[in-house]
Symmetry: C2
Amino acid sequence: MSSLHPTPDYISLAHGNGGRLMQALIASVFMAPLGMDTPEMQSDAAPLVLPEGVVVVTTDGFIVKPLEFPGGSIGSLAVHGTVNDLAVAGADPCYLTLNALIEEGLEYALLKRLIEDLAQAAKACGVQVVAGDTKVLPKGEGSGLYLATTGIGVRPVGLHWNMAQIQPGDVILVSGPVGDHGTAVMLAREQFGLRGEVYSDCASVVPLARALRELPGVRFLRDPTRGGVATVAWEVAKGVGCTVHLQEKAIPLRDPVATVCEILGYDPYYLACEGRVVAVVAPDQAATVLVRWQALAQGAAAAIIGTVEAGRPQVILHTALGGQRILPELEDDPLPRIC
Amino acid sequence: MSSLHPTPDYISLAHGNGGRLMQALIASVFMAPLGMDTPEMQSDAAPLVLPEGVVVVTTDGFIVKPLEFPGGSIGSLAVHGTVNDLAVAGADPCYLTLNALIEEGLEYALLKRLIEDLAQAAKACGVQVVAGDTKVLPKGEGSGLYLATTGIGVRPVGLHWNMAQIQPGDVILVSGPVGDHGTAVMLAREQFGLRGEVYSDCASVVPLARALRELPGVRFLRDPTRGGVATVAWEVAKGVGCTVHLQEKAIPLRDPVATVCEILGYDPYYLACEGRVVAVVAPDQAATVLVRWQALAQGAAAAIIGTVEAGRPQVILHTALGGQRILPELEDDPLPRIC
């Protein structure tokens, strides 16, 4: 006996019309894996139970291509991208909302797999998806799947990591190798004939941020996503009105990433990470931050990579050969659609 | 003398790369009109000040085509759609987050106008946009602009409007004429050669919801968006396990909407509203609800349109001619992309 309503192979416009097919899609692909199939979740607006502290909110959109890549997918990325923005603000992520814009013709099984990735990542981060919405885009007006997530978290009262805290003399650290995510997505997308052992670093940085939370002298944390470490350095330089000095030899970089970038002419300092943190800290706390990060598996390769100095807003890379190179502010897109 | 960085005419991929052009776009098109150009808004995660009560959250995506239509635009819709979901949950909307997926090649001036619509609607609703993200889609992989908003509101403790409260004998009301939004968008999109005086009803329903908040016997509110009043009726029928009876003569319908639907063969009960509320209330409260709604300008045409009765889950329309017609559950999309 076959079911009256068999699972379709592909998404159709009727999956977005508010009717029966849409309800079936939402129930099976979204609600069940996300643990939203409870009565209190069936309302148009979900009530939240929030711990003590300052409630913070952030949002992010995801248009990565391809939808799956070594080390992650748009599903896991949509969790980590938003959770990490909460983490670097000093918050514990609590809840997520999810928007899915699905292109007509997307393989049903692929969509299911991507949302399962999302559900698994959310579970691992301890966040609950509490509200969602799906829309179906006509074929040719999307690219398979776009996601947007909004994250709600709670930060301890009195914690103020922000750029205004930064002072000349402060030290810059990064929690691990740079450029992995951008390189992995690029290799998955383009047909370069290159085969590298490159995986996206896509992961929650909550443990890295939490490890610094009680430390004095921590000024500012940022996850170097679009535009990479160089763009965070520029943000600091312009935001604080100072010169950022980076030491090329100190910036952790995996060999295959360095090789791919060399062959293809990309600068790894502009490529996105999705599981790293850049921290700016008081000089007398830099060693402590380094030790705390290196004690974590995902911070094993953490390093002190530069300093913030008085001077005009610019970013200077001190090269491995002893020279200096001004890293320009990102203008044209080296690698679109990596998040 | 010309500016070094003149305003571009069209969105390019570089507006999405995290670099200088993106920062300029965000500053001029988003932050300034949305009142986000303050120091405390420059962080990756915005702190919220929330009044007493239960915090609730909801999210919605917007893919309406065309981007502007009589009575509104994707900008105003992106506010009202989400704010209204909070309102029918009994909450006062407080904050919004905004995701914009912009297609390469979109006219810069149009984007600016749409976000100004959004800013104006947010201001009128008393909600502050506190976080946002923009992505640029390559030309041909979008449809101009997609938006998603997440709304955070606060609901009085002890207010529990939800479907589980509904009992046989309850009465159904609608706050105004149905089908205006769907019809207005359809006329703006298609080249039917029809010219109607049809405007979208796109508006905040917060005043309509707030007017009922202290009343006993209010069971359930819903804004009849995708799928229209018929789909809300089906939601109730299936959610409660009962038969919903609707009285055709009682359902408010503007003449031009009725005419357009008749000519084109659409059923107005399935067409979206974006500024109406359906309420299910105890029979002894129906008159009070009607009076309270009719006292408001946007509820002037409010009406009692049906009842919830014991019986199998279905929706029966009692026609103006004295017959009965079963309104089927929405299956195929009568009118895609109206929100």
